[in-house]
């Protein structure tokens, strides 16, 4: 018994809770899990019937003679024809059931997404996600990167765009995959049901660092979400001491500001992740490294060693510049 349980645990280690396609933590995801179960049941039943028929045929074959005479043939067909008819009918019914189940799942998903209360635009780049929350009052839009916060129980519409190649937006716990295609706009609906942290992933091969293009999704209570949003609306923290000021100066006058944007400073580059609230994020470089001081040092000093081929060049910073920059970046909560 204990050995059986151990084997079960071993099998289940493949299912972590924060990147689990069978998690069903969002309405769309839950609908798909339901559909998946229906498919599993129907297909398992079919499989068992086919397996049983195969076993039966093998067993019977051993007991009859090798020669088929007319009498045996006639006897067999009396059984086989109705059996085949019943089997065809069963398959047909099964397919119809599956089609209807699939149709109703899509309809439910569409209905749930028809009245979104939050609109987000996600633009995929190689190999990071640009996330923009869009409000009717555009001056209160929030722009961040590689991280999405959502309030639980509120429907969200995500507009998906791409700046270069085809990517795919996939948060397994919450919903299915949806491609982001350059030159087109696609949509995904999300209705998270359970508070928690989930990991999303790019699901369409998009280049050398496709494997390190993850997305942190935080589903939180409404109050926590509003608090987070209000924090994101503030311009970047001003440097408080001379080391941070040196880092600020380097950032806004040198290579960093050529690509990155920090709201409230002269750095307004548009082609790299927005860093206004960099230190408030959970991970660096789309899930490549967890947010921690050592990782920030390592990333800023040599991003090519962590994520070779990505678009951020290794600048070759001096030690002083590196200390100053990291000190400044850590203040950007």
């Amino acid at each position: 018994m204990r050995r059986g349980a151990a084997w079960l645990v071993l099998l289940l280690t493949g299912c972590n809770s924060y990147q689990n396609a069978l998690g069903g933590d969002g309405a769309e995801g839950a609908n798909f899990v339901q559909l998946f179960t229906v498919f599993m049941v129907v297909c398992t039943v079919m499989y068992l019937i086919v397996a049983a028929a195969l076993v039966f045929a093998l067993w019977r074959r051993r007991r009859t003679a090798l020669v088929l005479d007319d009498r045996t043939h006639h006897q067999t067909s009396r059984v086989v024809r109705p059996a085949l008819a019943a089997w065809t009918a069963l398959i047909g019914t099964g397919l119809v059931v599956l089609t209807i189940a699939s149709f109703f799942t899509d309809r439910t998903n569409a209905a749930q997404g028809s009245k979104p209360q939050i609109k987000i635009t996600v633009t995929a780049n190689q190999w990071w996600w640009d996330v923009q929350y869009r409000l009717p009052d555009v001056s209160r839009n929030v722009r961040t990167a590689n991280e999405i916060h959502l309030p639980v129980g509120i429907p969200v519409k995500v507009t998906l765009k791409s700046n270069d190649v085809i990517h795919s937006f996939w948060i397994p716990n919450l919903a299915g995959k949806q491609d982001l295609i350059p030159g087109r706009q696609t949509d995904a609906q999300l209705l998270p049901r359970k508070v928690g942290l989930y990991r999303g992933q790019c699901a369409e091969f998009c280049g050398v660092q496709h494997a390190q293009m993850a997305l942190d999704v935080m589903v939180e209570s409404k109050e926590d979400f509003l608090r987070w949003y209000a924090g994101q609306l503030k311009p970047a923290t001003a440097p408080a001491n001379s080391l941070q000021l040196a880092g600020y100066r380097y950032f806004t006058t040198r290579e960093c500001s050529t690509c990155h944007n920090i709201g409230g400073t002269p750095a307004s580059g548009q082609v790299a992740p927005d860093l206004t609230h960099f230190a408030s994020r959970r991970s660096i470089a789309a899930g490549t490294l967890p947010m921690a001081r050592g990782n920030v040092y390592g990333w800023v000093a040599d991003p090519q060693s962590q994520k070779p081929g990505n678009r951020m060049p290794t600048v070759g910073l001096s030690a002083n510049d590196l200390h100053a920059l990291v000190a400044y970046l850590e203040t950007l909560k």
Binding site: D164, T253, R254, E255, T258, C259, V271, D302, Q304, S305, P308, G309, R311, P313, T314, V315, G316
Partner: protein
């Protein structure tokens, strides 16, 4: 060992050897330290008595005709707003890059110097704004606009709507002998 077995082993060995050959070196990081601009790549100048003529920069070989570098340069050309002044080689606010008229030299190291230093008639200086590797990648791309590079290294399509014939069909514009890489 039979003949068939031995020849299979030989064929397998040959395949394994060939698979190890790369057409070109691709450096994601560039040199560990930032690359400096070439010291001797000043624009066409009078060198009194033919003394101190600039020598070809050894880094040119690493970037010239390197498909990965040209591809990165194509991306950077848009990101760094080169296309905002020079468009797709035709020019406007900036000079045309697809023709054979080079005010400040058309060799790759001269183009690198132009990007890093800026030029008196309005070319901005990107020193401190781009890494050395990025500048060399850009220069490698700029050279393709006038058809200087091998056709199997250039990109066959633009990143946005095609406006000029594909670079694989661009005619090679002549360069002043002083600008050619053979000097």
């Amino acid at each position: 060992m039979s003949l068939r077995f031995r020849s299979s082993i030989a064929a397998l060995a040959l395949v394994l050897v060939l698979v190890g050959c790369d057409r070109e070196q691709r450096q994601t990081r560039g040199k560990p330290l930032a690359e400096t601009i070439p010291a001797s790549a000043s624009p066409d100048t009078v060198f009194p008595g033919d003394a101190n003529l600039p020598k070809a920069d050894p880094r040119a070989a690493a970037y010239e005709g390197n498909a990965a570098a040209i591809s990165e340069g194509q991306r950077l050309y848009n990101w760094m707003n080169c296309s905002g002044c020079h468009f797709h080689g035709g020019g406007g606010m900036g000079v045309a890059l697809m023709d054979d008229k080079w005010r400040y030299g058309g060799r790759i190291d001269q183009i690198v110097a132009t990007i890093v230093e800026g030029r008196p008639n309005g070319m901005p200086s990107f020193r401190g704004r781009l890494t050395g590797q990025q500048v060399w990648q850009l220069a490698a791309y700029v050279r393709t606009l006038s058809g200087q590079e091998r056709k199997d290294a250039v990109s066959a399509r633009a990143d946005e709507v095609s406006n000029t014939p594909p670079q694989t069909q661009t005619k090679r514009e002549p360069l002043n002998p002083a600008d050619s890489a053979e000097q």
